[in-house]
């Protein structure tokens, strides 16, 4: 699924990395625990999280993830957004909860990762 479609389906605000909206992802993974994200995430994955700190970006950087969706209306600080900019990561923000956001994406065909 194109990141642009994800942004539209979840009524996202694009915080940084608009030029990457045409990238494709195969899977989505939702978690507030970066430990689990690090243990279970494949490369072509969009990360959904309600955690809002630098380590979310660092985690995505290490895993070569290209996009993060902050759920529940969480608003990352300027420092977090700048870190994402350095790493060429698209940052989206949605008012949906993790459950609703996951449900919307899943019902439109975006699969979860097998663990």
């Amino acid at each position: 699924m194109k990141l642009r479609e994800i942004a539209e389906l979840l009524n996202c605000e694009v915080l940084v990395g608009e030029k990457f909206l045409d990238r494709e992802v195969k899977y989505a993974f939702g978690s507030d625990l970066m430990s689990d994200v690090l243990a279970y995430t494949e490369e072509d994955t969009v990360l959904l999280t309600g955690l809002c700190n630098n380590q979310v970006i660092r985690t995505a950087e290490m895993l070569d993830l290209k996009s993060i969706v902050f759920v529940r209306g969480k608003c990352p600080t300027e420092e977090i957004v700048n870190l994402a900019k350095e790493d060429d990561i698209l940052i989206l923000r949605t008012e949906h909860t993790m459950y609703s956001a996951s449900g919307i994406l899943y019902s439109h065909g975006l699969q979860g990762t097998a663990i």
């Binding site: 430990s35 380590q55 420092e79």
Partner: protein, 147 residues
């Protein structure tokens, strides 16, 4: 030096301090290491494994220890990562290696870590994994990644 270094065939060696005063800066060393490996032109899948394992180790040093360091040895056929801290050490290493076991505080969990997946994930990502620890002294990890 706790786990022995082999200085033969070292194309590049880098070392990084890991401080524990500011959790938001944890991951800077791993980020630098990843960029170096990318500049060298290693295969992306091995870079990814090294980055994940090194970052897990760096987070552990940042949240559990009083401070430590990471050393990277790049050789013709492998990358070796040494991570050492200055305590407090791990009382039962076998227990610490179990998926889901963690001594992390509630505060650490609120920061997104402490699920008890760090050490098992380091072992999973690396081709060789060694750990030793002495209570009140140190924890030392050696990871080898075959190129």
């Amino acid at each position: 030096m706790i786990l022995a270094r082999d200085n033969n065939d070292v194309a590049m060696m880098k070392d990084f301090e890991v401080t524990t005063d500011d959790f938001s800066s944890a991951g800077i060393a791993s980020s630098k290491i990843k960029k170096i490996l990318r500049q060298i032109g290693l295969e992306s899948s091995v870079i990814r494994r090294i980055a994940i394992a090194t970052y897990e180790a760096e987070i552990n040093v940042a949240i559990h220890s009083v401070g430590g360091k990471i050393e990277v040895y790049i050789k013709s056929d492998k990358v070796e990562i040494f991570v050492e801290d200055n305590g407090p050490g791990i009382a039962d290493v076998n227990l610490a290696m179990q998926k889901g076991y963690s001594t992390a505080t509630k505060e650490i969990r609120e920061l997104g870590f402490g699920a008890g997946m760090g050490l098992p994930n380091m072992e999973k990502c690396s081709d060789e994994f060694h750990i030793e620890s002495e209570v009140d002294q140190y924890t030392a990890i050696k990871m080898i990644f075959t190129l």
